[in-house]
Symmetry: D2
Subunit: 141 residues, 4 copies
Amino acid sequence: MSQNSFNTSLRVTWVDTDAAGVVHCSNYFRFFERAEEEFYRHIGFDFTNFKERGLWFPRVEAFCQYKKPAMYSDLLVIEVSVEELKEKSVKLGFKVVNAENRDLLAVGHLVIVAADKQTGRAARIPVDIVDKLKPFAKQIL
Amino acid sequence: MSQNSFNTSLRVTWVDTDAAGVVHCSNYFRFFERAEEEFYRHIGFDFTNFKERGLWFPRVEAFCQYKKPAMYSDLLVIEVSVEELKEKSVKLGFKVVNAENRDLLAVGHLVIVAADKQTGRAARIPVDIVDKLKPFAKQIL
Amino acid sequence: MSQNSFNTSLRVTWVDTDAAGVVHCSNYFRFFERAEEEFYRHIGFDFTNFKERGLWFPRVEAFCQYKKPAMYSDLLVIEVSVEELKEKSVKLGFKVVNAENRDLLAVGHLVIVAADKQTGRAARIPVDIVDKLKPFAKQIL
Amino acid sequence: MSQNSFNTSLRVTWVDTDAAGVVHCSNYFRFFERAEEEFYRHIGFDFTNFKERGLWFPRVEAFCQYKKPAMYSDLLVIEVSVEELKEKSVKLGFKVVNAENRDLLAVGHLVIVAADKQTGRAARIPVDIVDKLKPFAKQIL
């Protein structure tokens, strides 16, 4: 996997699956976010701290391509990369791999914007967060 | 179904199911709550209005017995009844029935308490809400 | 909304929301699927019937752009359109609108492929399904 | 915590929370099951192996009492105990504790029955599974 990315793993639980016997498509976005949260924890960014400052970090775009299904009890590795770092938004890339056989199961991204909770308008990402994201950024725009 | 109860229906969606091909046990509690919300809408109780007054309505107990499985696309009827109405809490009873064949699928309850958001302590249910719940109450304690 | 599309509505329930007070991003994909299922019901396509023939309909791509947040109790209208109809796949487009103020909340799509359950390979969409989808298709490729 | 119990931990993720800012009540049942699955993994019981033998393990009862709320990012410890081991069913008890301050957040149980997938009737729990559960059982009935 690429340099300057962050890896975390999670285990597929029963409720993640659907009647087709595979992980439901919507749950990959939940897996992405769990990986995102672990990534933030890793770099020391706690977005709940910004609530008092009136900042939040809504998603403006979500995308996933599904390559192979994941099943109950599979151990998944999720790679997080910072695809683009902009003044007011960040695009995080995700790869989901089966930990046992290294099959690529899904790729996708989330675009997250810093926003003023009151006005709903996009805001600059605080400089201390930018500094923590920079070492992982493939592109700084 | 019993007098003074409220009925609503919902359709099982694909993501409600799990790899056993049936609705996942945790989703019955989500069905209960959807029925609870429709019941409140029916009697004119909007619990989000109480946020400003610092009141919220957390669950303190949840219970479900599963009788028969529900499948994708099944239409379910959910009956809500007010099992017990107390000064600070209400116990809502739920029955989940298959709309087509009238099979009883699940029975359960939720105990909901009025609570002060600041202190976390139980508080009296506002009198206007009590008045709206009373006609449905099997027991007033 | 556009001709040859299908509209359905759903109510935001409490569990759809997250600690930001808005519907969680992953749930839009669940809303898309509920609309997709209602659309299939409307045109008389029951995909569970194809299980015996060894066909299933996994998603290969999911996309959503979020415009404005949805809140608890909001009534949402979801418009489904058939963006592309191919031999082995269909791209469904979705628009999520607030029923009260007509605000556009989200747009997105799902790409669904017909697949042989045994081999996992893409298969032709059965002709009777194609016939049911055609009147809604913006592009037939 | 009690002897002969099994502990596992999990981190609260954003989607676990609701607009009250706390973990949604239904998610505790999902936490219970994740702990149950880790417990089975620990004792070497893979319930998916029994599919071929036509056995499955549906839940017939679920219960939870909520003591204190859990928030985003909280690390939770879940204790699993075998409350009752019967010929055809097992009652698993759960305690959810905040890992940092040791606050008890929730207690509950699941009753799981062995069942013949074809007939839906309760069946004996296979003897090899009984042997694995016995060392943890508080009561053998």
